[in-house]
């Protein structure tokens, strides 16, 4: 783990040694932490194996190596589970101190699967697939929770599903950038900033809980379960951005509309939550009388699926069902029983859906620099990209991201500003044609960063022995 090889260029190529192990196919996602690329292994042993490479942006100036990257690495080094994404390597680009995490590539994720059903095939996801996806998600989560790790950012786009191959249809929980070990935290967890995408955020977080628990992940699983059933986010609140305050009235309102108001009777510790006390008029502003979760998700109130869902969406985190308990729920014991390949039902008669593969932007190189020349056709592995590489592949569009936040569509030039300096000129990953004259903004970024790192002019060592 962590190739120790130097970054020096050799005589054959200008690419750093680690990068020469891969053929870069293109960019498959971007988020606040950086970019994700699809690459294929060149070496004989695993030739053609797809790898997702997550490139972290440099953290704040003077803050050294990205804490998000370091946190994700340190957790993933310790956890090995079939339903958790596998970190296969860590590569270092010394020049700008950026890290590249190499993961086993997953072709699908729940966001895309749900979207495909909603926008393309127009029918719901079959029962077997919903149940298997949920079971494996809970199985991975149970492993994490029993290792004292809270994920804190579960949402459909972070739940990956493997494509064709030995692990076809296996669920992988991804993106541990916000995950925390919750044993004896040195600081209250809430000091790390508000987490969890708002739609999947548990009510105790919205009401300002300081010490929260693995139950926040179970709330998110409940929301995802409902979304798998209805193809629509269950609580689609409008987020008030830019507030350090966890209180999001619209989100709470969306929850109350479906589940009714929480009461001190059913949730005694509610009284201790800061925003329950402070914002009581707001919270109680609307009265929702005819609330009904079963109507929203179209389940009979007596069905085991509804029983499980309502236990995941229990207001009181202490009463909310745990991952371990959920795995034992009756729902999973009834036909159709969950299976390993979530996408291919064992029973005949169930509809088999051919999910599209992840769109790949072949015009962006490892530095995130957009290439304005026409892209070269992707030759290797074209078979695994149904739909070929027609016009849709050459146009960057909001893309599915491996464990990253979805970003609105950005014009290509914008990548330059966000891109990272440093792998040196002349590097051309994957043999993809690159634009030679780099836009001005990009260069300035490069120069400035070098200065901040204080490397070039930094005197070798100080002799001071004041400590």
């Amino acid at each position: 783990m962590g190739d120790g090889s130097s970054n020096r260029t050799n005589s054959n190529s200008n690419k750093p040694e680690w990068l020469q192990q891969y053929d870069l196919i293109g960019k498959i996602g971007e988020g606040t932490y950086g970019l994700v690329f699809l690459a294929r292994i060149k070496s004989q042993a695993n030739r053609g194996k797809s790898i997702a490479i997550k490139k972290f942006k440099q953290s704040k100036d003077g803050d050294g190596v990205s804490p998000t990257a370091i946190r994700e690495i340190m957790l993933l080094r310790e956890i090995i589970h079939e339903n958790v994404v596998k970190l296969v390597n860590v590569h270092i680009n010394h020049t700008d101190m950026s890290l590249y995490l190499a993961f086993d590539y997953a072709e699908h994720d729940l966001y895309e699967i749900i979207r495909h059903h909603r926008d393309k095939v127009n029918h719901s996801i079959n029962q077997y697939t919903v149940k298997s996806l949920l079971w494996q998600l809970l199985n991975g989560l149970n492993y994490l929770h029993s290792n004292w790790i809270i994920h804190r950012d579960l949402k459909p786009s972070n739940i990956l599903v493997m494509g064709d191959g030995e692990e076809h249809g296996v669920v992988k929980i991804a993106d541990f950038g916000l995950a925390r070990i919750y044993q004896a935290p040195l600081k209250p967890l809430s000091e790390n900033g508000v987490v969890v995408t708002i739609w999947y955020r548990a009510p105790e977080l919205l009401l300002g809980a300081k010490h929260y628990t693995s139950a926040v992940d179970m709330w998110a699983v409940g929301c995802i379960f409902a979304e798998l059933l209805t193809l629509k986010p269950l609580f689609q609140g409008a987020e008030v951005k830019g507030t350090p305050n966890p209180f999001q009235l619209d989100q709470l309102d969306k929850i109350f509309k479906v589940l009714g108001h929480p009461t001190l009777d059913k949730w005694p510790s509610l009284a201790n939550l800061p925003h329950w006390q402070q914002d009581v008029q707001h919270i109680q502003g609307h009265k929702y009388d005819n609330t009904s979760l079963c109507n929203v998700v179209h389940l009979s109130p007596k069905s085991p699926a509804y029983d499980l869902l309502s236990k995941m969406l229990e207001y009181d985190p202490r009463k909310r069902i745990t991952a371990a308990e959920a795995l034992e729920h009756e729902y999973f014991k009834l036909e159709p029983q969950p299976g390993r390949n979530t996408l291919v039902p064992c029973q005949p008669g169930e509809t088999f859906v051919n999910y599209p593969t992840r769109p790949v932007d072949t015009t962006t190189d490892f530095e995130g620099t957009a290439n304005l020349q026409p892209p070269m056709p992707v030759s290797s592995g074209a078979g695994s990209m149904p739909g070929g590489h027609g016009s849709n592949r050459t146009v960057p569009r909001p893309m599915n991201v491996v464990g990253m936040q979805r970003m609105p569509h950005q014009p290509m030039q914008a990548y330059n500003l966000a891109s990272q300096a440093g792998m040196g000129p002349g590097m051309n990953p994957g043999g993809i044609p690159m634009q030679r004259g780099v836009p001005q903004a990009h260069q300035q970024q490069q120069l400035r960063r070098k200065d901040q790192m204080g490397m070039p002019g930094y005197p070798p060592q100080q002799k001071s022995r004041r400590i």
Binding site: M1, G2, G4, S6, N7, R8, G62, D63, G64, V65, P67, I70, R71, I73, M74, L75, R77, E78, I79, I80, V90, I92, N93, H94, T95, M97, N147, W148, I149, R180, I181, Q183, A184, P185, L186, K187, N192, G424, P425, R436, G437, Q443, Q446, L447, K450, M453, G454, M455, P456, G457, Y458, P459, P460, Q461, Q462, K463, S464, R465, R466, I467
Partner: protein, 333 residues
């Protein structure tokens, strides 16, 4: 926290005494060879981030001259230097009032780092500060490099320059288990084992406090690289109980070993206990005179002794020209 049984700590960072000796020997040997070849041993982090040893001396005369006055550190001398800086880690962390956990993590990082490298190759003062910085980051008590540097009047760029090489040398195994938490766990367990009343709880508190300072002592030896944290904690409690006589320790031991799987036997623990105590007994903080002597030797290995001031200046200017050429390269072609 993630389970120790499946941890990288257990799988990769608990060594046999022989293995430890081999690792120290290998690092020392490599530094000696570099000294012979290059006349100095200190590695530099280059502009492109890669590590390199000093340029080999070209002039035969200079080489011969150098040879006659620069002697490598012995393995024992390297140990002295490490011991000195491990004490510094405890000092610095105390002065910043960092939680115990951070101090322990920084110490373990420092120990693991100098299993891979000799103190002749990387300046332990810089590594020590970077280990503290990294430990703060990992233990979620983030302190900016600048803040840390200011507090100890050191240039924080040095910390940032070394950060990546530390993670890399630790092979990105960054979750470490210190015995302090295990001590706490055993104390809780003892409460149940003994059906504690208020007086007894007070005694357990005393037992715990002494055990913690016992762990402090162990943390300065090789013990954390040789034993799992649970054994260190139990040894610390054993020693503490020998002083305070709070409970029937043998009885308690039998109770925990009977509850555990047969992998751990009491006799094995007694063996570990003796080995740990012997490490603590043998621990010696170097005397000032000895320390000064080794320091002078070390500085000359680094090529940073006072006679080399002119060379240092030369290096600086070389650095500058390198920077310029680098800038030129970045310009669009």
């Amino acid at each position: 926290m993630a389970d120790f049984l499946t941890s990288t700590h257990r799988a990769k960072w608990v060594f046999t005494p022989q293995h430890l000796v081999e690792k120290y020997r290998a690092a020392n040997q490599r530094a000696r060879q570099v000294l012979e070849k290059c006349g100095a041993t200190l590695m530099e982090i280059d502009v492109d981030g890669s590590l390199s040893y000093p340029e080999p001396q070209t002039s035969v005369k200079a080489n011969a001259e150098k040879h006659s006055r620069t002697k490598p550190l012995s393995i024992d001398e390297e140990q002295c230097i490490r011991v000195f800086f491990e004490n510094k880690i405890q000092e610095v962390c105390k002065s910043f009032q960092f939680p115990h956990k951070i101090q322990a993590t920084a110490l373990i990082y420092f120990k693991r780092f100098f299993l891979q490298w000799s103190v002749m190759e990387h300046q332990p003062k810089n590594i020590m500060l970077t280990c503290i910085y990294a430990a703060c980051k990992i233990e979620e008590n983030h302190v900016s490099a600048e803040e840390l540097g200011k507090g100890i009047q050191q240039d924080h760029h040095m910390i940032l320059n070394n950060e990546m090489i530390i993670y890399q040398s630790l092979e990105f195994d960054l979750i470490v288990y210190a015995p302090y938490r295990s001590v706490e766990g055993f104390i809780n367990d003892m409460q149940e084992f003994c059906n504690a009343d208020d007086d007894f709880l007070q005694m357990l508190k005393t037992l715990q406090d002494t055990a913690r300072s016992e762990v402090d002592k162990m943390m300065l030896t090789d013990a954390p690289l040789l034993f799992p944290p649970g054994q260190l904690a139990l040894a610390a409690l054993h020693n503490s109980n020998a002083l305070h006589k709070v409970l029937d320790f043998d009885g308690y031991l039998s109770s925990i070993f009977s509850r555990q799987n047969p992998v751990h036997r009491e006799s094995e623990f007694i063996e570990s206990l003796n080995a740990i105590n012997s490490l603590v007994r043998k621990y010696k903080f170097p005397e000032r005179k000895e320390q000064n002597h080794i320091n002078r030797k070390l500085e000359s290995c680094w090529g940073l002794s006072s006679q080399d001031e002119s060379k240092k200046r030369e290096k600086k200017s070389k650095h500058k020209s390198k920077k310029n050429s680098n800038e030129a390269q970045i310009a669009p072609s």
